[in-house]
Symmetry: C2
Subunit: 338 residues, 2 copies
């Protein structure tokens, strides 16, 4: 009687396949991972092993494989939220590009919570990711340090860090272009020389740059921007809503046009506009540094800027593939839909 091939509940292993095929575990392993030609296994044996593996529905144990190799072929990404199309499309594109390279993507969302970010980074390192992408992280350099201590490569996306290479949008240029479009669209409805209102975002690199682009466009148009026009209230819709209410209470009539930092505060802005009735029948012109197809098809008064997600991920994977050592920042131009 032949040796029992496999215990009932247990998963099939290369040792089971070895007994079934009458070959050694080494032969089975090398056939299944493609190194068999280098190891001079005959085509006949390779085919037999492949056939039996297929018949038995064998699945490689990546934990065991990853333990022995020096590369795990895992690539991690942390992302703040899944509540908007921008991060959604980043994740979708990231996963598909990772898979195209034979990497297994692990993505986790950290709720814009810096403590969770660190925990998630540690967990990914524990799972032996080869590389970690920190997307829109609140403290990218902290993550880079943790990764470096564990010998894991890290890259930043969307928000830059000083310690690792970063791929971000051209926030200043994009904000400038968007501001110009809002100024042009609202020219008929604005008091001449009146600046736009800036709403949303928190004091990070991107907001700073966007505000700078916002100011640049104003000064190019010869319009002065007062600091009270900048409401960088964070990303929560409620905060934007409250800030508008407070500003209106203090200043009376608000400008007939505004720059909103993303679709999340946009929700609060729209809510306030509708609820307050501040603008009556003449809704303000809005520019949004973010794109959502439903918003763009539902509205006429909102100009949406679209960040070039495919372009950014192209640059990101270029860096992943080439392993640059310096903490360069790549800025990808933004787009407008059609």
């Amino acid at each position: 009687m032949a040796k029992e091939s496999k215990a009932p509940g247990r998963r099939m292993t290369i040792y089971d396949l070895a007994t079934l095929s009458g070959a050694s575990p080494t032969a089975v392993s090398s056939v299944l991972n493609g190194t068999w030609k280098k190891r001079r296994i005959s085509v006949a044996l390779a085919e037999r092993i492949t056939r039996i593996a297929d018949e038995q529905g064998y699945a490689l144990n990546m934990q065991a494989s990853g333990l022995r190799r020096d590369k795990s072929h895992l690539i991690g990404m942390i992302v703040p939220k899944y509540d908007n199309r921008y991060f959604g499309s980043i994740v979708e594109k990231f996963e598909s590009m990772a898979r195209d390279r034979g990497l297994f993507p692990i993505v986790t969302c950290t709720q814009r919570d810096s403590e969770l970010e660190i925990q998630a980074a540690r967990a990914m390192i524990a799972h032996q990711v080869d590389c970690l992408i920190a997307t829109g992280a609140t403290d990218p350099d902290r993550i880079t340090e943790i990764c470096a201590a564990a010998g894991v490569r890290s890259l930043n996306l969307d928000l830059p860090g000083r310690l690792a290479p970063s791929v971000i949008s051209d926030n200043r240029g994009g904000a400038n272009a968007l501001t110009q479009r809002i100024l042009a669209a609202s020219a008929g409805d604005r008091v001449p020389g009146q600046p736009l209102l800036y709403v949303g975002g928190r004091p990070d690199h991107n907001t700073t740059e966007r505000i700078q682009g916002f100011r640049d466009a104003h000064s190019e148009a010869g319009i002065a921007v007062d600091d009270t026009m900048i409401l960088a209230t964070g990303y929560a819709p409620e905060k934007a809503e409250r800030a508008l209410g407070e500003l209106a209470a203090k200043h009376g009539k608000l400008p007939a046009a505004m720059f909103v930092s993303s679709t999340i505060p946009l929700e609060g802005v729209i809510r306030w506009i509708k609820a307050s009735g501040h603008f009556g029948d003449c809704p303000p012109h809005i520019g949004c540094f973010d794109w959502d197809p439903l918003v763009s098809v539902l509205t006429e008064n909102i100009i949406m800027l679209r960040q070039d997600v495919p372009g950014m991920l192209q640059e990101l994977f270029k860096m992943i593939d080439s392993e640059p050592a310096d903490a360069r920042v790549i800025e990808v131009p933004t787009l407008f839909q059609e």
Copy 2:
């Protein structure tokens, strides 16, 4: 001279910690994974090891740990797309509930592509997930079979299967309630006795049930529904857009109210309404079996039904925790925002 503690590029292991602390690898392992009391390690040694591990920034190798234990503590989820708030909130909630249970969530998006779904399921099994959740899968039973062959538990979410337990929305009841609301809201604008139009969705369980609920509500209101009023065109916006155009070309004036199966076809519906000018200044009443905060704040004529994601995930994890064997289907009631 003491034995060299660690090679430069390599990651710290329990063996390094053992030499550093003068204890055995076994002691280090048991201290770090919490089994040290059972193993009668002294508090003094436990504290020393913990301190050294912290100082050195040690991170457990989960591949090695997972290989040795019978449970990997990995839980996988496949999800069709990240392009809407429904799946986004499912993933966010799933991740946080998994983490609360000490599980590491692995989520991957399969682009509504059945081949990718299978590939992703196989990859997750290869990575030794303890359990796999198939969300909105095109062929959930195929995934269940693949999981079963590998001895991996699987559950369905959003769309039910016949071979594994499922948690889904009460599609029929929700569609009935939504249809009633649309009928009521549009009563003044509809030709009496005229049915609504049904747009979007593909021939799966959920669409079938939603159409049934749609029909139920009509028959309860004494309205007959012609088959030509059902445009189950799939989820792509373009398909919904084209179908409306074709129907209008054939039938002339469309009903003044419609039921749209989710926010994705809604985009096409709105686009067609705006582009065609079919309804002139009197936009149709719309009910959408899905919820998006931006849409709900931007529009007055769209009633949005919200699927109870927290409730569904509560039920899902109840099943994960209790390991039921039967392929029961749990239907969770839907909500309306406020």
